[in-house]
């Protein structure tokens, strides 16, 4: 900083720029060392979403959660407690159950809801904890692929199950 300067229009600053919501870049050489959080707020942040995806995802978590409680507790009850518990489970038992469209539907619903609920939960965990955009993209792609694979395979099995195999 100097005290002897010549006043020309060149040094006139048109507008406030020191504090712009970016915070940094104050011209202080020490800025190179500031302790920064992983991701800071940027200009693009207030970006209106055209869809309600996040809201629907949030609602889905609440609703599927309630339904899953019923489905999973019922499932556990039938599998582990009623009619002699675990010992009864065998190929014949499964085959018998899946002969009824009701149980087919139950298991199908349970598979879809549990997988979507779980993977949506994982998606939020990845969103929260992955620091880099690329890491986030990779993790989500992997998880999405695993979910699609599991759901499709499970659905295929339920619908194409042949008790006479």
């Amino acid at each position: 900083m100097q005290t002897d300067y010549t006043y020309t229009d060149d040094v006139v600053v048109a507008s406030a720029q020191a504090h712009t919501g970016q915070g940094l870049g104050t011209g202080n050489p020490a800025d190179a060392f500031v302790v920064e959080p992983p991701r800071t707020r940027t200009k693009k942040t207030p970006r209106r979403t055209r869809t309600n995806f996040e809201m629907l995802a949030w609602l889905f978590m609440r609703l599927s959660g309630v339904v899953l409680v019923v489905l999973i507790l019922g499932h556990l009850l039938i599998m582990l407690v009623l009619d002699g518990g675990v010992s009864k489970i065998g190929f014949a038992f499964v085959a018998g159950r899946w002969a009824s469209p009701f149980w087919q539907g139950w298991d199908l619903l349970m598979l879809w809801l549990a997988m979507l609920h779980g993977s949506n939960g994982m998606r939020t965990v990845i969103n929260d904890y992955a620091e880099k955009d690329s890491t986030r993209l990779w993790l989500k792609t992997l998880m999405g692929a695993a979910t699609v694979f599991t759901v499709l395979l499970g659905t295929l099995v339920i619908f194409t199950f042949d008790p006479n195999i």
Partner: protein, 257 residues
């Protein structure tokens, strides 16, 4: 009305009035950081004689005034109303001026560091601009349509009560900087911005709720809240922050507010 009250002296009042203070030795451990001197932060211990009834801010002042003038922090009103001195004291976000030494176990070293999730510029000073940017992005002002009335707008006491809790916010950033989602993703609006949106969404005089809700429906909006309740615990004004966020979520689903 004129019953003398001095007879019913409680033990608390006696304790408050006790003149002879017992000083204790307090160790204050502060995470110092001055990029002009060294690129890395460092923990520094200070020992001082303090009355346990004094504030943590008094301890910081005593250090600055008597031991180390380079210690840097923000402070103004010193009684929890201006929101300058939010910091992490023993791992929890508090206002230094609203925390008494005796309440943070002065037997052990008291650790003090800058609030998390915002860029640390020097010692306990962080860059508040991203925080205020999030606040500005939720349109924190009364939006009305039509002509202004000549007198005041009417509002029933119940309608006024509806958003009373969130009007208490002093923008100290204790909530936002206690939020684990915000720590990892500064793009998240954060509890404070949502609280200030809530203050207007539920104000019966306001007509901009739809716009604000749309903003908070964003990917970085209310849906990122994981209801960990850190914000409610951190709020020095006792605002039920998590509840306010849930109410905004509910308003988004039901479109009733």
């Amino acid at each position: 009305m004129s019953t003398p009250t001095v007879e019913k002296h409680s033990a608390a009042l006696d304790a408050a009035e006790l003149g002879g203070v017992k000083l204790i030795t307090v160790t204050v451990r502060i995470r110092r950081f001055n990029p002009e001197e060294h690129p890395d932060p460092v923990w520094v211990d200070y020992q001082l004689e303090m009355d346990p009834k004094e504030r943590v801010l008094d301890a910081l002042n005593k250090i600055k005034w008597e031991q180390d003038g380079t210690l840097t922090y923000r402070r103004s009103c010193a009684h929890g109303i201006c929101g300058s001195d939010a910091m992490r004291i023993n791992g929890r976000n508090r206002l230094a001026c609203k925390t008494l030494l005796k309440d943070v176990n002065p037997e052990k070293p008291i650790t003090i560091e800058a609030i998390k999730g915002l860029t640390v510029l020097k010692d306990l000073i962080v860059d508040m601009d991203p925080f205020f940017q999030a606040y500005k992005d939720v349109m924190p002002f009364l939006i009305t349509k039509g002509n202004e009335p000549t007198r005041e707008r009417l509002q029933t006491a119940e309608d006024r009560e509806r958003f009373d809790d969130t009007t208490k916010c002093i923008l100290c950033a204790a909530c936002t900087s206690s939020c684990p989602v915000f720590w990892n993703d500064g793009q998240y609006f954060g509890p404070a911005a949502i609280v200030n949106a809530h203050r207007f969404i539920f104000d019966s005089r306001d007509e901009g709720a739809e716009q604000r809700l749309e903003i908070l429906n964003d990917r970085e909006g209310v849906w990122r809240c994981r209801t960990t309740f850190n914000c409610s615990e951190a709020c020095p004004r006792g605002i039920e922050v998590t509840k306010a966020i849930q109410e905004v979520k509910r308003a988004l689903v039901t479109r009733r507010f």
